[in-house]
Symmetry: C2
Subunit: 359 residues, 2 copies
């Protein structure tokens, strides 16, 4: 196995075309814990990005964030943002509101000619996700969906191994992601459990994009068929169909991806691919601050690689900026994100109708 | 985690009641590679068992095995066996013929009052498996299905951990088993690819019992619902629907087991269970001569245990003999095996009909 050479020679930022430039100045919209603790600190470290505007429900909330970040000069309410306040102070928006609010901020930002980095899932429904794409297409602004796994070196290396045939034709994928949402955010009335804000449900909408999109990215294929099962038993999950869910995505050539997600199980994540000639596992796979181990086996030999941990949000923001500044389209673009929304809708539809859904 | 004590104190043969006795004298029926290389050598090592009769399609084939094993005094053809030849020379039969032949040998053996250890799957169809159970029940002989994982110490330890609540309520199971059948047995006309001999198909019938039965055993629950997908693309798999298959078994309380099997993918096996409080993985899980590693995680701590490798067939035969000699019924008895057959039939039915099957 001359894999060590391949691993050593692997360039994490194989997408990088620009080392200095910009910066792309961001208005960050929605100041939940993810924006405050992950997105803004990542942008602070970035060479090509800067946060200049904070947008939230109240001036007080926006100001509390603005005060703690030197580069932020404008603290806006959502209404002020829609009215065009400080619109010269930013070139792009990072939309991290509850799912069903994405469209309105994307639409306003695109109307101002701003590029858009939109959190996953793109919106609460497939139709609204399509409207997100249209809003950006009509105004000719860049739209990227915030899939942090696509710029994660472990995932890019795995993709490279699969695409160069190291494990042979993929036959089976297993992927799992779970966490205990109510321990992380001890509030049964949170938006991720409210269908008006989250959309079709919680586990598939919030966690599903990781196994679904990462598998699509690594296989470089889209699934053609879905069967799914979902269920909720805990009281806090009364309004959503999927406290827990399992789904099988059929890829071309009878490659089956068996996936499970749950907002109410121990924190755990894994992605493994079994091929005709070998297999590959990333574990832990999806949590941002876990060191990633990639295990590769072929011809009776198994090798494990600890992949150097990166700040995934930093990589994601730098990639977005690199695309914007070099005038090229990012890979997880709008139509790419709509495909995930279509798959997730199909998962819910299949779980409800008890029928396979063709994609 | 006081798991080390629990692990160190774990008694592999917690089922043992008899250290000397018998021996239970076996007629082994069907002399394929598994019987010759795995079953007979295991019986030779057993304290409570002995092989005294070899039964095959021809006298020559039976004699060639009889000559190499000191304790075998009788080499019979299938017809001679049915006619009752040497029936005083054995107390029990081990049936390891192609699936669709199990019933006739079980029926004859039970008619002679012999106890039966029958290979998995029990028969080619659910109806014939039910007939196997009836044949043994009517003659009041012991029937055990040869699930070697149920006496595997790693599996019994995992079961103990799950049953004592170490990982909390199980939420998701992932299990996978694959091998390259045509590299192991380079003959496209082999019985495992012939529906007249194998039954409903190949991957689910031959490999499916490992994820299906081992999960049932560890959870101590039976699934209530199945959805499945299967497909064949390779020419050698033209006559069977499942060169590869994926299925989700729903257990009570929305615990979903996502399983994949393939007779045409790299040799690989895994079983993992994610619970509310922790998780447990056995990998490799199902091949007889792989050292088994059990990894257990809870409260942010992960521990791995290399479980001492046992001869799984020796454990299985000794357990069967222990049950027979002590006059108790084995745990994987006839009705237990029929449940697996019902699940496997449901997997094929669901894959064909595109509908979930209630169990």
């Amino acid at each position: 196995m001359d894999l060590q050479d391949q691993f050593d020679g692997f360039t994490a930022r194989d997408w990088q075309t620009i080392e200095e430039g910009g910066p792309v100045r961001f208005a960050v919209i929605g100041l939940g814990w993810w924006t405050r603790d992950e997105a803004i600190p990542a942008i602070q470290q970035a060479d090509l990005c800067e946060t200049t505007v904070a947008v939230s429900s109240t001036t007080a909330k926006a100001e509390s964030v603005a005060e703690s970040v030197e580069t932020i000069d404008h603290a806006l309410t959502y209404d002020e943002f829609h009215d065009g306040a400080a619109r010269e102070a930013y070139n792009a928006v990072y939309v991290a509101t509850p799912n069903s609010k994405h469209l309105e901020y994307v639409d306003t930002a695109a109307g101002f000619g701003k590029d858009v980095l939109c959190e996953k899932p793109m919106e609460a429904t497939l139709e609204r996700a399509e409207a997100v794409v249209e809003a950006c297409r009509d105004r000719d602004v860049t739209l990227m969906v915030a899939y942090r796994m696509q710029t994660e070196p472990a995932v890019r290396w795995a993709r490279n191994l699969v695409q160069t045939g190291f494990i042979g034709d993929p036959v089976h994928v297993h992927s799992h992601l779970s966490q205990r949402l109510l321990e992380m955010i001890p509030n049964p009335d949170q938006w991720r459990l409210d269908p008006d804000l989250t959309g079709y449900g919680t586990s598939v909408m919030d966690l599903g994009p990781y196994p679904v999109n990462t598998t699509r990215f690594i296989l470089d294929e889209d699934p053609i068929r879905v069967t799914a099962q979902a269920g909720s038993t805990g009281e806090a999950f009364d309004d959503v169909p999927d406290e827990t869910a399992a789904f099988v995505l059929t890829y071309p050539n009878n490659c089956f991806a068996a996936c499970t997600v749950s907002q109410n199980a121990v924190q755990s994540s894994r992605l493994s691919i079994v091929g005709l000639e070998g297999e590959l596992t990333i574990e832990p796979a999806f949590f941002p601050h876990h060191p990633r181990k990639v295990t590769v086996a072929r011809s009776g030999t198994t090798a494990s690689y600890e992949v150097e941990m990166v700040d995934q949000m930093l990589e994601e923001f730098e990639y977005f900026a690199d695309c914007v500044l070099s005038g090229r389209s990012p890979v997880p673009d709008g139509p790419h994100g709509v495909t995930d929304m279509r798959i997730m809708k199909a998962i819910y539809d299949s779980a409800e109708s008890n029928e396979p859904i063709q994609l």
